[in-house]
């Protein structure tokens, strides 16, 4: 549905931020887009929304180049940026002036989410905290019912209860017709939410796998007397957690943080193991 092909980008007079990126985002999935700070996650999201133009390559939605910013294409994408400012209006007025542009907008859903986030339609947005503004925009984004919802560092600025509230809301929001991409460097915040992991490093995609494949191919935990050669990655801190090739071992819950660190440290080893489980390797 949303396809990125041979996409490269750099800001003026600086090193490439993205180099030859190939990615496919399909409906019914929540993608976690991970990477260290400055690895191009936000840039990639902006390109996928048509807010930045790639130096080469394309980003297409149902075959339409998003760079053209056609009204029809934009009706299928909603982007929640990391840092933003909303107009100084009440939440209800904001909904009234902004929602007519999205044909599938659900007013009921919006006000349900606003209530869920403990906000009121009469609240003036400019008087809200940044976290509350983020909730307004996320509620709006979810209510637009666009096919693609892009969230850049959505948990930044949210307090701890709000983070779990966010996970709850996002989990209930996904359906077969929607594709959600969440970019973050706080891997833990997306625990039990995403079903596909994409990791960017050195301006490239170094990992692009469904979580199902990860749990089929890898074992996460504290191994007792493991065979040195079977260790794909191990952390001496945090109680010596390791990633092993699963083989016949019991399935474990994917530790996203461990996976992220492991992939950054041993991308080739981990990708090679998963290749057998993958339906169409790209990396």
């Amino acid at each position: 549905m949303l396809t990125v092909r041979q996409l490269s980008f750099n800001y003026p007079n600086s090193r490439p931020v993205l180099k030859s990126i190939d990615l496919d985002f399909e409906t019914g999935n929540i993608y976690g887009l991970f990477g260290k700070n400055g690895e191009g996650k936000s840039t990639l999201m902006k390109i996928m929304t048509g807010l930045l133009f790639p130096k080469s390559g394309t980003s297409t939605l149902h075959g339409d180049n998003v760079k053209k910013r056609n009204a029809e294409s934009l009706q299928h994408v909603f982007f929640v940026p990391e840092d933003f400012e909303l107009p100084s209006l009440s939440i209800a007025t904001f909904e009234k002036v902004q929602s007519p542009f999205y044909p599938k907008f659900s007013k009921e859903k919006f006000y349900e989410l606003i209530e869920e986030f403990k906000l009121y339609p009469t609240n003036i947005i400019s008087k809200l905290s940044f976290g509350q503004k983020k909730k307004v925009l996320m509620a709006f984004g979810l209510s637009t019912n666009t096919k693609v919802l892009l969230l850049d560092e959505p948990t930044n600025g949210l307090d701890i209860p709000s983070k779990s509230q966010f996970r709850k809301v996002m989990a209930s929001a996904v359906d077969e017709g929607k594709c959600i991409v969440i970019s973050t460097h706080q891997v833990r915040d997306l625990h039990s939410l995403i079903n596909h992991v994409v990791i960017l490093d050195n301006a490239s995609v170094i990992f692009d796998q469904p979580l199902e494949t990860v749990s089929e191919g890898l074992w996460f935990g504290k191994a007792s007397n493991p065979d040195e050669s079977s260790i794909l990655y191990s952390e001496s801190s945090f109680g010596g957690k390791t990633i092993l090739a699963r083989n016949d071992m019991e399935e474990t819950e994917v530790d996203l943080e461990l996976l992220f660190n492991g992939v950054l440290s041993q991308p080739n080893k981990i990708n090679a193991i998963l290749k057998d489980f993958h339906h169409g390797p790209r990396v």
Partner: protein
């Protein structure tokens, strides 16, 4: 394929702009109304009347600068790094955006400002009649003075529209400076053209050659020249604005 030029969407976009900038517009119009009233009233102190040309002179002093200020205000979201993500990703095509902005800043603004100015002017005349025993007359937009002011605004507004899109900081100052430089370039261009075409007739042999030449350039400004500059400052600037909007990134 959805329409890329939809009138309902343009209407929604105009409504959105007017709602978001309601405070700015109301404040600007109220300030203009108060100043317009004071200027009109004071004008009647000396000659005990407010002639149409005097009224539309005062009208132009507020109508044009206020229109320019509104133009910059309406494009604030476009260049603001924190709000332009939401603004640029809004599902509305570039021609629709431009049409909505232009219509708001010219047609709607002119209609509202003119109505307000006429009402304020009539109020000032009534007050002048009572206080200064000034002549009573009815203000009307069906006069050449009014349409001359409107014409000037419609021609220069697209230049400020391009300035509002192009510059991210000190937008008004930079636009005025660019306009000043542009005016100097055109003056020089006209002067050179005049010199090329008229040198052989000996027009530069007099004592005050510079001022004579410039006067002649002014007099010689043909209908074709008016169309040429009218096009440059009017529709062509709208085309420039369109391409600037297409190229805009966050």
């Amino acid at each position: 394929m959805a329409q890329e030029f939809s009138l309902p969407r343009i209407g929604q976009f105009i409504r959105r702009d007017l709602t978001i900038h309601k405070g700015t517009f109301v404040t600007g119009l109220l300030v203009s109304a108060v100043l317009l009233f004071l200027f009109c009233t004071l004008n009647m102190v000396w000659d005990k009347k407010l002639a149409l040309e005097e009224f539309f002179g005062i009208f132009g002093v507020f109508y044009i600068p206020m229109g320019v200020l509104f133009t910059f205000s309406l494009f604030k979201e476009f260049n603001d790094t924190k709000s332009n993500h939401l603004y640029l990703s809004l599902p509305i095509s570039i021609p629709e955006r431009l049409a909505a902005k232009w219509f708001t800043l010219t047609v709607i603004y002119t209609a509202v400002f003119s109505l307000l100015a006429i009402l304020v002017g009539m109020l000032a005349i009534t007050v002048g009649t009572v206080i200064f025993s000034a002549d009573f007359n009815v203000l009307s937009i069906f006069t050449e003075h009014y349409w001359n002011v409107i014409k000037v605004y419609f021609v220069i507004q697209p230049i400020f529209l391009v300035g509002a899109i192009t510059f991210t900081k000190n937008r008004i100052g930079k636009t005025v400076l660019s306009l000043g430089l542009l005016a100097l370039v055109f003056l020089l261009f006209n002067f050179i053209l005049f010199a090329i075409f008229n040198h052989s007739y000996g027009v530069f042999s007099g004592n005050a050659i510079g001022s004579d030449a410039i006067d002649n350039v002014g007099e010689d400004f043909s209908m074709m020249g008016k169309w040429f500059y009218g096009l440059i400052f009017g529709p062509i600037m709208l085309v420039v604005a369109y391409f600037k909007m297409i190229e805009k990134e966050v």
